[in-house]
Assembly symmetry: C2
Homo-oligomer: 387 residues x 2
Amino acid sequence: MRNFSYNTPTKIIFGEGSIEKLEKELSKFGKNVLLTYGGGSIKKIGLYDEVIKRLKKFNVFELNGIEPNPKYSESVVPGVKICKEKNIDVILAVGGGSVLDCSKAISVGALSNEDTWDILTYKVKHDKALPIVDILTLAATGSEYDSGAVISRPETNDKIDFGSKYVFPKVSILDPKYTFSVSKRQTAAGTADAINHVLEQFMARESSLLNDGMMISAIKSLMHNVKIALDNPEDYQARAELMYACTLACNGIFSNGTGPQNWPMHGIEHALSGYYDITHGEGLAIITPRWMEYILCDKTVDRFIKLAEVFDLHDEDKFKLAKKVIEEFYKFFESINIPMNLRKLGIDEKRVKEMAHHVHICEHLDWEEAFYPLNEEDIEKIILNSL
Amino acid sequence: MRNFSYNTPTKIIFGEGSIEKLEKELSKFGKNVLLTYGGGSIKKIGLYDEVIKRLKKFNVFELNGIEPNPKYSESVVPGVKICKEKNIDVILAVGGGSVLDCSKAISVGALSNEDTWDILTYKVKHDKALPIVDILTLAATGSEYDSGAVISRPETNDKIDFGSKYVFPKVSILDPKYTFSVSKRQTAAGTADAINHVLEQFMARESSLLNDGMMISAIKSLMHNVKIALDNPEDYQARAELMYACTLACNGIFSNGTGPQNWPMHGIEHALSGYYDITHGEGLAIITPRWMEYILCDKTVDRFIKLAEVFDLHDEDKFKLAKKVIEEFYKFFESINIPMNLRKLGIDEKRVKEMAHHVHICEHLDWEEAFYPLNEEDIEKIILNSL
């Protein structure tokens, strides 16, 4: 095992009715609350009214309309402004990963006099952030239990990964019932995102029995439960299992001590959604089997063999088995109705070279320690194979 | 899944050389340090000198000689006294679960004017504790990553479980190399303890695919790696995997959402080591297959079937398969040289009735929500079967 440091201070309050703890938890941080949310789905399901009802003793300010692939200029900047003007004490993020990520970016900008973009791109340091409490409405990114945020800036085609120990949510309220109304398409994309989080950690040179076991269990659980949730969106147990698996999938507890990691599929996908604003989980699902095919070789084949446990597959021929594993991932994503070609999402050859160059410059996928380093040409081929 | 709340704020610093972070981490809490340790094995391996060398800028006071099954009067009370007299800011626990548990008990007593035993038995409330930093030297109890402490008081035959969110260690320094010198007997007992922690969580009515998968992986990892560590005590990878698995095994992350739990094997074993001061992990290993045999019935058989994955066992006859699983656990513990009868540890029929009564009164194993409630007679039979 490799050396690691791990610390996730977030408190998870999980299960039906967890919102009852909201007032008590929020009041630990102050009176002035910035309520952040997305396009209004929390109003449709009655959660907005429920939250407002419970915030009578607080001064509530709002930032709404936060987009999927949350945007720097449209959402982060206005959020920082409100926090400064209204002396916000705590951010209450109600939504999925985009609302959370946006709130994390706001939380560091709010307590700094520096330009927030410079903080998010590590040009200037930060040493604090506003506390965040969240109510999750989408099982997907795991942002409710990690220290990362992905922010887009379409003006520059940037989609950046920001990480800071200061932005772990203080409290995450996870009630599976709030995901009952998530559309089939978003349910599938969210699950694909979480599966990919596990795969990014799994596909590394070094691992251990326990790490592998946790990761394989997580993938199996996600694959099993998403089918149930798609058939019956109000199946509590399936929604709950998806929620817990997604929460752990991006947190690092599965892969502490393994590595090294550099998340190549995310690196490539960030360009796709940076340029075309596609759904992150769909982009990842499309890339996954193409990246796998591309990197399959003597050096990597044993991880595929281990991964065969997900599907209970066996074959004496290692490469035949690895190819079966890749095929199974493809078939699985197809079976939950993810369009498995980038063309179906409106992406064609036109900007592939440009995106590959952008990924090459920004994501450092040619890191020689990586499981399988990718140069600019590799990236271009993988995107082309995904069209 | 059942509702749960989960929050483990402990920072883990894992791997060879982690002690380099000691000074920086400790200095966050103050200057006056109570260094707690056991019978001197940390001196033999040079760790004591290493620690003292790194504490030059601190005022160090010592509490040493902390026993296995740490004792209230001999260790907790003197520790509390030193903390109060010397205005201790932080406890540095160097050792295994016993040193840690003792330090946790001291940490709550140190900041209270109440009798520490009354706090540990919840007769009076507490709302704070001294911070604890630890350097672990034994992979076993998981105390380095949980909020529990087990304290013995032989005068009253008590061995109590204390839990408090205030006693999570702030920082746990986990260097697998410090476990290289752990004896074969303690290596086996520590692993048996951790396996039993997982089993106590696994054997419940409700679970999920992910929870089951994590727990089965942990048991497999522990079983696999303990054999390697027994053959070659300086195998870093095996010692590291044991350390990480033990750390997660008692923390709750494996079983969040499952349940209900009431840890019957621990309940019974606490009487055995409360009365006879035996090694906790050995007592648990001896009880495990006897408890399993005793509770095997229509209501419980399916959990055994699931547990068969640990050994990759299959049989169409459910009960035959369950019995094989129990036999495999027995054979495994025997294979790592755990004496599999209580008589071998000096326990005979004499005080069985008394112990069963004590367990019945103190441990509430007849809780009707339990996976398999045990009355006084059941407890007596399980102990008799373990002789």
